[in-house]
Symmetry: D3
């Protein structure tokens, strides 16, 4: 599972708080006495899967360390509309100023976890795992991959640095150099990879599977935009010699069929490319 | 319209490129010769409204200034599936490494502009304007508000620092102090605002409109979660003495009705809270 | 009042400490034993208004959290020569290294607060408020605006992002486009402002007041470099339809006359453009 | 002379521009067409000494590299009211947005250079040099020390890291350890200084001069708050064996007398502790 | 090969230049006229392998873009004492200020490349590759791994994020949970790895090889601190089912023997853990 | 002694931890339960001098403040193989992730301290001090100079900003201007130095010593690459009028001879230019 460290959370939350109030919250400073206190509940207004307990806590407490957050829902647990997911208590100005930032993070992360859980449920029992992709929101990849994991998904490579994935564009020049010999082209490039970096190769046609596997250095075969019959044939051809990944426009409606072809993993860009923030609210009570 | 400066684009793009390849693109480094070149088309795979021409250009060129981007679509223009929105040319390693980051920005921004344009079209002829909110993705507010403007929407306050918006939580303590006198409570807080900061007040009930306007310092009245009849009555009560804003769970289906009540502006959180990345692709050709 | 957050104080103080000792304090490291302790008094050497208690505390404690500061004067209170404003206790090396930075901040902030208080006293009873401007020291605006507020002044807009102020340069092109029709030019530009951003317009001549107010969207009229008679006439013309601001070379000698013309607010660049650091000293005693 | 590198100027100017417009200049964006251009003159409204030509240029051009600045006055040259010090030409939005930041830097730097030149003129012919101190504005030391040099002053140590200056507080513990033997205390500490770091010692009484010089490692003797007769006696006692520095509350009125005592250098905190921004203006003309 | 991007080089060089001259080069500023120019040769004073051409160029040109560097030796090429590796020309102050930083980078990188080349030469013809480790200088890993590659070495994983390597400490708890069943313990942990991350397992004893390979998910077996006979037996046991890595205190004297056992890769911490900067000099000529 | 502040340690360690795990430690996250704890001993595998106790502590605790480190060896103390230098206790994931970074810092710093101590021992009794140079690892100068001090060495100037050192290149233009008059050239440049900055001059030939000393402003004479007889003659010529520094290719074998010539200080680039990390290990025990 991808790491979401305290330091990264704090740095990102600080930047978000600064974006939302570069020169302070003029409303609270004018209307809310410095001594006023607030209590608040983070309430689910629809059902879902929770993700981001620590992120929400950091967002609410970072402006003023007298704010205290009690988390009532663990990441990865499900909730229904009306559930109280966390409570907040502290100086009212700080709570009101942090509210929107706290919600923006929590709603997006819960949205992703909830959506992921639907895909995971759809493939239940097939043995296939649901993968995320690099189609994440710029600067928020760690948050979104963490949310995918909370929803039961499996993280794929985090970045271009930690796993190799060769597509036709990567192979074009080497293929020409080796007169179209796919095995030689892949083996040649693979020899220049750092040690310990796994190699996945995307194939467009079934007949490419054997030459790819013939290299002996490919750990995963990606079958991109294949029909169900072709996927089944691909799985049969690979025959356990590599992980088989299906990808390409897979939706909640189609994923079950894909999973039943026997592929090992299914990557779904929509997990993070379409973000439906879950409806959460912060019910605040301010008093002297 | 909100500002999206070159410096902010570059800093954000740099961070996104570092997130996506903290230690380089191992695949390109191994498989693509340093001397290989690429040409690429940014192609629309569905219809929409363009936003982010400069962001895409920065993303594609930042790794290597030999990469050149030609923008073929201006921000705010519409396109159909199959349109080529920009062309890219340069060293293949840099193009391939930047591809995903460039697409992640462009697809999100076009998604927001396209969605906004639908809301704007829905209120056409009513005189109502469609506003965004602070429900934006953390760290990307300037990008998203810019995309809203590309789609024909009107930007609302950028942050807590540049306009005051008093809700019941803000007013609770002052109301108690002034024995429930709403006019006095608002006037008291308003006197502490910095000079030149406008004040919007959210009202829950129609009978609060008069005491709010009696302060003489409120520029906008927000009617939150009002029915259509109440909105009409609110508009009549305000009678041009302030801007009237409708807000609260407004959808593409309901916005026309809201607009026809005569409100001046309608804020729609969904513009940025639900992000459907538009389907764009980068068709790349690599050669020696 | 403008916000001066803990995070901003700490970041600015850290940068100032690094500027003053990029590689440590060679004198203290050589002459003062690591185990030596210091007690110190922050003493006023002249009368004034205090500002910056928290900033001074952060400056003195940031190098070593064993340093403790006891604040004896609240921000905004007056003091006379000889008053002890704070006491400091802790490891001698840290106290001696931080001394100059702590004083540099406190002396400047107290200087601004004290100067502001003189202007505020000069208009007492007239109803006019004293405003600061954007003529602040680069990078220290939040500190200086906070000090103005401590002295009884009113903060004007913090930046170019949070309020609109149209001067003749801004209007030149639109005036030409609308054949010199000031009302149309202003209304045209105002329609492009983000929602909730107030608009102030600077007028050079009394006859411009009516066309400016005719737009119905201008909240403040700035009368720049007007004589006292003109100011009075301007106030009468505006007649409460907008806030009236006087500006332009106003001094401690002339401000009372300006205030008595009936203007609402008077902006004084000198509050932050001429900085007379107040004479404060740190009386330190070092012992084993 | 202290260094003011391009990189440091750019980083500081960028921070100042961001402080003054975190989300852009809403006025220019609304009122000034993107295609409008501006020409502008930086005009002196009072006489003075110039400092900050490069800083002003960076400030005006940093937002948009199409802005061009022509410097007409070199740093360190004098000017009279009415002189045009630089001209600016470029896109109007960028010029108007940068105007205040450019002026804030230039006015402060010219104020310091002009003030310094008065002190330097006051000691002309005596052989004494005028020194600045560490009483500079936090974060702007390099700018202010550079301005002092433009005014003919001599820079003293930049920070606590680059020269040692032992005062009574530094010596207290060592004096106790060596039973009040000043020579031994200073020699003991000096032995712990990094190699190549010069040592200045502040003395309160004339009889301390000999024991201080007896160490053989002190390059400068600071006579703090001495009367003129004492200073003369101090100079005679030191007799060229070290640099003699006078300091403590020296003003434009008193500095000539101090200089005539024969001291080598005179440090004047007021050079940077009292900042009177010089009156410069930017006369802008905007056109289509 | 690990990536060393222009952006990373520039940021690191900038920090190094700031470390070496936080407030400028006082010597050059005082002694060298601003108009003086310098030409310089980067000369090898001993034989070696070059690495860091671009880094040296950035270091020499970053202070002043009028400095020009001509690289005469490509990274990875060998040179002998007396060879001129690059020439430099430009403003003398900038050249003299950058000299030490440029040399510090170039000497270390050449030292590593040269040392690596000796290890690579020692295993020539055996088929074994020489790997670096994570025992690199903090903050300079990309520079050092790049230098290893210049010397003919093969980069191992860049960080803890891009490949999994399970040692006994990692396995302790799972082994206990699975009653010492190594296959089950490894399989259990491997199932939690992100997709596409390869797994290497360190084994202490030969009899652990089979249960490790039985998992079917281990790509590399590390034999740590094995004798030559044991290594040979380990290679025979693995029999091509995984990459075999030897590690542990391997020196230039012992590496040939290790390579001849048939292992695939040999990791050598000393490549970067012992850094002998190569003797390079910059021969500078300054003139008016 | 050079300063190594907590803030600098933390910032550098944070950057090193991020370099070593930009997206977390995939191995620990997969194999080590979140609840597992570890105890560990930092063990010397060879004899040496300790340096970096606080750095090691920060490295081990920065990821998770529940990790506790007990330092058993003070900086500057000697140890033998087998000594336990510190113990660590805390969550296993954090301990395992930080291990390599903690060791990388500690091993390098101990290597430098140990090497320095050998040079210092070699000159024992001669009165000469061993100096470091600016030949340090980029970005780590404060750490390395601190380690030199732990080994008994004396720090030389930290940077180009805090002491002047004129070599032939610096003097070339002024010498020409003053027709080869070394005294005039040096005096001319020295007059432009900031006040309080000491001046060292490198001389190539013995006959240059007198003209250099004739300036009266040179505190140190550097004799670069002199033979032992020349050094003795140089010491005699200087006769206590300045510090005498020997430099140039001095090794552990030759330093005693150099010291016995009577020079005051000997600068040794190898202290930081050749870094032999000391062999330290972290013996970890992980349990549930």
């Amino acid at each position: 599972m991808t790491d979401l460290t305290r330091a990264h959370i704090e740095a990102t939350v600080d930047a978000a708080l600064a974006e939302d109030a570069p020169n302070g919250d003029v409303t609270s400073a004018a209307f809310v006495p410095e001594s006023a206190t607030a209590t608040a509940d983070l309430v689910a207004r629809e059902a879902g899967v929770f993700a981001g307990a620590e992120v929400f806590e950091v967002a609410m407490t970072r402006l003023d360390d007298r704010v205290k957050v009690t988390n009532l829902a663990a990441d990865g647990t499900t909730f229904v509309a009306g559930d109280i997911l966390a409570t907040v208590e502290g100086p009212a100005r700080a709570v009101l100023q942090a509210e929107r930032v706290g919600l923006n993070f929590a709603q997006r992360m819960c949205g992703i976890a909830t959506s992921t859980a639907r895909y995971v449920a759809a493939v239940e029992g097939t043995g296939a795992r649901v993968l995320d992709t690099r189609k994440t929101t710029p600067l928020l990849r760690a948050f979104e991959k963490y949310a995918v994991a909370c929803g039961g998904g499996t993280n794929h490579r985090f970045s271009l640095s930690d796993a190799a994935m060769a597509k036709d564009n990567h192979l074009a020049v080497l293929l020409e150099e080796f007169d179209g010999d796919l095995t030689k082209a892949i083996a040649d490039g693979a020899a220049r990879l750092p040690e310990g970096i796994s190699l996945e190769v995307e194939v467009d046609r079934l007949e490419f599977i054997e030459p790819v596997l013939a290299t002996g250095v490919v750990s995963t075969i990606m079958l991109d935009n294949f029909g169900l019959d072709e996927l089944r044939e691909g799985v049969a051809t690979v025959a356990g010699r590599a992980v088989v990944e299906a990808s390409g426009g897979i939706t909640l409606e189609t994923i079950r069929g894909v999973a039943e072809t026997g592929v090992d993993v299914i990557s779904v860009g929509a997990l993070t490319h379409h973000i439906d923030s879950l409806d959460l609210g912060l019910d605040v009570r301010v008093s002297r």
